[in-house]
Symmetry: C2
């Protein structure tokens, strides 16, 4: 096991009815800004539940945080925070709303041009406190200190992280997810699955606990994901998916082991340029990263094949190919297509995405920093065809 | 899955050389009291390493916190804290030192008789901040907010917990454990194993993640525990045991599931009366709790038999008996005897321990509160004979 620091102070309030508990977590007399997205929370009752809980506070709203939240939109929210002297932010939504709120929390107290937080890794020294009410299990943002923001003008999609942007609390009420459309369930499961794989599928470092935790989450998503589509009113299934997605990226399974974020990095560039859903890009890239990097990942690919898919007979490459095929089938079963062609994108994307990777300096990805532009090209070429 | 709150703000600094990092975690210019036990940290170099790290602080020491730390000893430390106007405590040792330090942290700022914290659940409103340097993987105290303290005069062994007694940080350097005697390794593995079982072996609530995490920890202890005895200089094995023990009782695997602390409660009374090591009492009580409560725990016992011990053939009770036998064998293999007789204690203990349970109101233990004194008697009677 490698040396590590693990720190995660986010309080999780899990289960039916927990939205009412937020009053115990937000100091009295605070001016609270609720941030949300396109308004689905008004249809499914979550907005009303949150407003009822906050009856004793001075509440403001900022709606319209889009999927892949943009700097341009978030800076409008920063203006509201300053104008209304907001004390506390409450993100109500999925990963995009939460990521966006993390940026708002930092940008509102930042001296200088907030884009530098993303583009120049400008030091963060303060952030507004915030909580979240999660309505879409997927990104894990509700229990980590990272966020991804897109600049509309330049199509740059960049990440930042800081301990000050751990949510103070996150409400995970699975019943808020019962009204999600199948596409968002599928996307969420694929996103969580890929997060786990990126911390698991590298090379062995004698970390059996981390391996087994990762495998436990993968097996649970494989079991529960299809049930979430087949029985959309099943609270318990949604509860299991929700807890998996949070634990997939809260730092725990990645503590003490190498990680490989190549799939996410390449995927981000596809979204920035072509507007695909984040999870769609992961479903396209991950199986091909597995195939192209099979030698570097051989030992873990075989472990994955055996422990997650019960593939124990046949030659090594046969088992690896079967495990990759199973992964792809699972994504497709969750309703997420696994080739660019499926989204109407042709081979011209290869050069476009490579150019974006180069522009962002993403020329040495992966656990060995050996996913150069040459390797990314090979991966991307395999992403095109069906 | 049941509703739950999960909150754990302890920062873990894991790995070789991490003791040096504590200076980044303790505010400058603080008056630090180092608390420790019998002095083994002076032989194995940990004391020197801690003192070197704290060169820039005003440092005081309190030695002599015993296994099953006593109120009487801890109140001496409280006197030192007050006299020397200590700002920060640093526990260096195992679970007893850490538990004791939690009590010191609270008692030093408590108005009234500190014993009431344990005996009367007196409200806690303040605590000194503290960190830990763990040298003995076992209790999980380094990453939770609970402690057990014994009153020497009355032989009462009582617990308390409060979010204010989460350690600010805990250093987990597995190399500090390389000099541990086999008895402490065996005890630590049994303690951690039992913690996991007490959160796992109840009844199913459709919580597959929690189940798989628990099973992952159990399997790892079963693999790595014997290696820790056989190859005592193996850092990686100690690292895996250490991380298992911490995760066994940091709140994660118990979130959203029922738990059954009957084994610990009965074990505490045996230690209080007969002075057995904490883990020895668990090794004695757990297999018998499993056997006596087999009907209430049937579904999970069968799952445990299958997933942890690969026992899948034969009738239900046959598999359950085999799983209990395997558990007992594992404890014995770790050098911890599993009957009272092995420690020279005879059947007279049954009435003595029952009396203690009754005196402490522990008359409805277990996940169903059905471990009455009658059931405890049955368990204890099975604990005597070999």
């Amino acid at each position: 096991m490698q040396n590590f620091t693990f720190y995660n102070p986010t309080k999780i309030l899990f289960g039916k009815g927990q939205i009412a508990s937020i009053t115990q977590e937000i100091p009295l007399n605070q001016r609270v800004l609720i941030t949300y997205g396109g308004g689905s929370i008004k249809q499914n009752g979550v907005y009303a539940e949150v407003m009822a809980a906050l009856a004793g506070y001075t509440v403001f709203e900022f709606a319209g945080i889009e999927p892949n939240p943009t700097y341009e939109t978030l800076m409008e929210a920063v203006r509201v925070v300053k104008e209304q002297r907001i004390d506390f932010l409450l993100a109500v939504g999925g990963g995009s709303v939460i990521d966006g709120t993390k940026f708002i929390a930092v940008a509102a107290l930042f001296e200088g041009e907030p884009w530098d937080i993303l583009a120049q890794h400008a030091p963060i020294v303060r952030a507004l406190p915030f909580g979240t009410v999660l309505t879409l299990p997927a990104t894990g943002s509700e229990m980590n200190s990272f966020a991804v923001v897109t600049r509309r003008a330049s199509q740059d999609k960049l990440a930042f992280g800081h301990p000050l942007v751990f949510p103070r609390f996150s409400v995970l009420d699975p019943s808020t997810t019962l009204t999600l459309p199948p596409r968002q369930i599928g996307n969420g499961v694929v996103d969580a699955f890929t997060h786990i794989m990126e911390q698991y599928l590298t090379y062995p470092v004698n970390a059996p606990v981390q391996d087994r935790f990762a495998e436990g989450l993968l097996l649970t998503l494989i079991e529960e994901g299809p049930k979430a589509l087949a029985t959309p009113d099943n609270y318990e299934v949604r509860a299991n998916v929700m807890w998996c997605a949070t634990l997939a990226l809260n730092g725990l399974i990645g503590a003490g082991v190498p990680s490989d974020w190549a799939t996410h990095m390449i995927g981000h560039e596809i979204t920035a340029r072509y507007g695909l859903d984040h999870a769609q890009t992961l479903a396209i890239v991950l199986p091909n990263t597995m195939a192209v990097q099979r030698n570097q990942k051989r030992a873990k690919l075989l472990q994955y094949a055996a422990r997650v898919w019960n593939l124990t007979s046949g030659g090594e490459d046969e088992r690896i190919d079967a495990a990759i095929a199973k992964t792809r089938e699972f994504f497709e079963y969750m309703g997420v297509k696994t080739y660019l062609r499926g989204y109407g994108i042709g081979p011209e994307a290869v050069a476009v995405v490579l150019q974006q990777l180069e522009r962002h300096g993403l020329t040495a990805l992966g656990e060995h920093q050996d996913v150069t532009l040459v390797t990314s090209r090979t991966i991307l070429e395999r992403c095109v065809a069906a």
